[in-house]
């Protein structure tokens, strides 16, 4: 039967070639959109690993002031901690959660070199963001006395850097001059929100005399409102004349950050949805016409004793073979993506997208062929043969 179907398709390859191209193109579009969706969905299913609801981000910028920056930042920090509304506060580099900034760097252990996001923070960050530790502890001021930089890494970083052994208390090389000691390991830290993939990350302890990292994350008491914020900005601005002071809520920045991911996905989804609807309608029309032309053939088969189901099966089989032709061509293209590691996505994402796209294509062609072939199969043989 299958060989027969292939023969039927092959004999009409010229007139079918356009259909094959159409199904192939539909598959490519689907593959692209599904890759995007699968990638984001898989990230979405992993928790971000920290709490942000009551956290504010206070950003001070020194502008033209160049004197005694470290002392001023320390004084600001003390001032922030003195408010009863601020439960915890921590200094952090500019790549605060949900911000647009990124700081990428690499770390070496045993000749294995792993790149990741570097977050420069002080000892309070775990409390501000409720970051639970899997192993070890968060660094504190006592750790600064040693000759190694105190570090905390996330699970991803541990797996990539130490493969199967534990990374706790290991010494890693940060650059030619500095090495760090890992004192704790956290599970996940997806600073850019749910749609960020779980990249390797590393927390690097700031020295108190640091002059550059001027973001302060504040965990506020529940019920704190903009009145406190206005007071805070006013006090800090008085303390630091000429400096810029800005407060943002992590809640708001999270929304903005996630919209940046969602809006493009939505636009693509809408456009490709219309494209596929269009293809489905077209296929339906073409199959309708093609099957209507073959009434004689159907009448003959029915007269020889083929059941309705067999006739329907034949047409469905034909369109499946046709779709398979297109999908084979499509797969030749699609498989290149995981093989050549395009866009640095993991292979699984591509494979799930490919499987899903294949399934959707089969579904669409089946739906389009079902109705015309049912209609054709129910024709009385006498009527069908009479028309010839």
């Amino acid at each position: 039967m299958l060989r027969h179907l292939f023969k039927l398709i092959w004999n009409k390859k010229a007139s079918h070639s356009l259909l094959i191209i159409e199904v192939w193109a539909a598959f490519m579009v689907l593959f692209g959109v599904l890759t995007l969706i699968v990638y984001n969905l898989r990230n979405y299913l992993q928790p971000i690993g920290f709490q942000y609801e009551q956290v504010w981000n206070l950003e001070v910028s020194s502008n033209q002031d160049t004197t005694a920056l470290a002392e001023k930042l320390q004084r600001t920090m003390q001032r922030v901690r003195s408010y009863p509304e601020a439960i915890y506060a921590s200094r952090m580099s500019s790549n605060t959660p949900f911000s647009a900034n990124q700081i990428g760097n690499s770390v070496t252990y045993n000749k294995v070199d792993v790149g990741g996001d570097f977050y420069y923070t002080d000892g309070e960050l775990a409390k501000v963001l409720d970051l639970p530790l899997k192993k070890g502890r968060w660094y504190n001021d006592a750790d600064l006395a040693g000759k190694f930089v105190p570090l905390v890494i996330n699970q991803q970083m541990e797996e990539k850097l130490f493969q199967n052994e534990s990374g706790l208390n290991k010494i890693v090389k940060l650059d030619d001059k500095t090495s760090g000691k890992i004192v704790g390991i956290v599970d996940k830290f997806k600073a850019k929100g749910v749609y960020m993939s779980d990249n390797p990350g590393l927390f690097y302890m700031l020295r108190p005399d640091d002059r550059f990292n001027s973001n302060i994350l504040i965990k506020t008491r529940p019920g704190t409102d903009a009145n406190f914020e206005a007071r805070l900005v006013k006090d800090i601005a008085m303390m630091l004349p000429g400096w810029g002071v800005e407060v943002g809520y992590l809640k708001d920045s999270r929304k903005n950050r996630e919209n940046l991911t969602l809006v493009p996905v939505l636009i693509f989804l809408i456009i490709s949805g219309f494209l596929l609807t269009n293809v489905a309608l077209g296929l339906f029309g073409v199959l309708n016409l093609n099957i209507a032309k073959r009434k004689g053939e159907i009448g003959l088969r029915r007269a020889m004793g083929a059941t309705e189901a067999r006739v329907t099966g034949q047409f469905l089989g034909e369109i499946w073979v046709l779709a398979t032709f297109s999908l084979v061509i499509g797969l030749i293209f699609a498989v290149q993506f995981p093989l050549m590691n395009v866009f640095d996505l993991d292979k699984e994402t591509y494979f799930i997208a490919i499987v899903a796209a294949v399934a959707v294509i089969y579904m669409i062609v089946t739906l389009c062929a079902w109705f015309p072939s049912r209609q054709a199969a129910t024709i009385h043989p006498a009527v069908a043969l009479h028309e010839e």
């Binding site: 159409e22 800005e246 943002g248 309608l281 077209g282």
Partner: protein, 414 residues
């Protein structure tokens, strides 16, 4: 003859409403997508409020320091000092405006926070741009010289801060980060997609926290250079390139880390592209991706239409047979079908125009982009019409070609 063809086309359309629907759906969808996209591109790159003179403007927005092997690179906006030295002094330019990239700030009113974007500009900024003043006037050289604490605000901020029922706002004060500014003018706001003119508050560059006195090349400022007319831009670019070429290496090498300096006065589109594209390889990549996406959006419905049209040859076979039997040449038939297709495409185009209008209206009123001003204007419409034609020919030529080659006997037999 033409009216006859169109009459025939109309009758054919009415004969099978379902197939007509499929055809029109494909055409309408494709053209709508393309028209919304062109309208959006026009919104991004065309000359619109407040940058109405964009067609004769050049943008100096980033300084790139790199070495000839391209191993290290550092880039960012320029300093006020740099732009004053090399852009303000351009002799071939009509005017040069210097403004900071917008930064964020907060204002508080009755325990409510207002998030603000702030911008520091020079006086020429107001003549290079075409802001519409609802109240008051822009600051002038005197304000800048005295470092007055004055500000121009947008109507949206006025309504938020002073309430929408306030009689006049000019002369009242606004408190931003603990500094009081006197409101000197109120302008109609602009969409945030025009980053060089977008802000909620505009200050003279001598206001506090603008960092205009910073030495060095890099800072937070950009410049818009206005040429007398669009064709003068090349002369201005040449002059600016000369100035840049004369900058001594010591100024940008940072202890011999860099030996190449790239600063360009570009048209808005080029400058936008250069933000993402660092090399010719990237450029090819960008164009390829854009081309592929366009090909998919246009190609898929086109192939679909061709398929439907080819399948429907037999419906028209008797008509073709009769016409050929009476001596119509293939060429005449070919023309008939092409015209038919173009006609159908135009009907689809009319629907698409309507649909585009709805979508654009939705985007403008959804608040997705504040002050969005997407329009179906003449260039967009002309491009759409052209696309209509290309599309009609694309989906019409192949089936028409096959139809016109049918043998007479066969055609009449069917």
């Amino acid at each position: 003859m033409l009216t006859n063809y169109i009459k025939i086309a109309w009758k054919v359309l009415l004969r099978h409403p379902f197939y007509t629907f499929i055809t029109l759906f494909g055409i309408t969808l494709t053209l709508t997508v393309l028209m919304v996209v062109t309208s959006f591109l026009d919104h991004l790159f065309g000359a619109h409020y407040p940058e109405n003179k964009r067609s004769r403007s050049l943008y100096i927005a980033s300084i790139i320091q790199t070495d000839s092997a391209n191993t290290t690179m550092s880039s960012g906006p320029a300093s006020f000092d740099f732009l004053t030295k090399y852009a303000k002094s351009l002799k071939s330019a009509e005017r040069v405006a210097i403004m900071s990239n917008f930064s964020f700030s907060n204002a508080y009113v009755n325990g409510k926070r207002i998030k603000l974007n702030t911008k520091y500009t020079d006086v020429d900024f107001w003549s290079v741009t075409d802001f519409e003043f609802l109240e008051g006037k822009p600051y002038d050289e005197t304000n800048v010289r005295n470092a007055d604490h004055v500000a121009v605000i947008t109507d949206a901020l006025r309504d938020q801060y002073f309430g929408s029922d306030a009689a006049t706002t000019v002369g009242r004060s606004i408190d931003i980060e603990n500094i009081r500014y006197r409101v000197i003018g109120v302008v109609k706001g602009s969409p945030p997609t025009r980053i060089y003119t977008y802000s909620d508050v505009y200050f003279p560059y001598t206001s506090p926290k603008s960092n205009y006195e910073n030495k060095g090349m890099r800072g937070r400022f950009a410049a818009i250079v206005l040429a007398e007319k669009a064709s003068d831009r090349e002369a201005v670019q040449a002059e600016f390139d000369q100035y840049v070429a004369r900058i001594p290496k010591a100024e940008y090498s940072e202890n011999n880390r860099f030996n190449v300096l790239v600063v360009k006065a570009d048209t808005y589109f080029d400058h936008f592209l250069n933000m993402f594209v660092r090399s010719d390889k990237d450029r090819v990549m960008v164009y390829t991706i854009v081309g592929l996406v366009l090909l998919m959006i246009m190609g898929l419905p086109a192939v679909n239409l061709v398929n439907v049209n080819v399948s429907r040859i037999l419906e028209r076979a008797s008509e073709i047979g009769v016409r050929k039997a009476f001596g119509a040449p293939s060429k005449a038939l070919l023309w008939q079908f092409i015209i038919e297709n173009v006609f159908i495409t135009f009907i689809g185009g009319a629907f698409a125009l309507l649909l585009t209008w709805v979508v654009i209206h939705f985007i403008n009123s959804s608040g997705w982009i504040a002050y969005a001003d997407l329009t179906i204007n003449l260039p967009v419409f002309a491009i759409s019409l052209l696309l209509c034609l290309v599309f009609g020919l694309l989906s019409g030529v192949l089936p028409a070609f096959r139809m016109s080659r049918l043998k007479i006997a066969e055609a009449l037999k069917a």
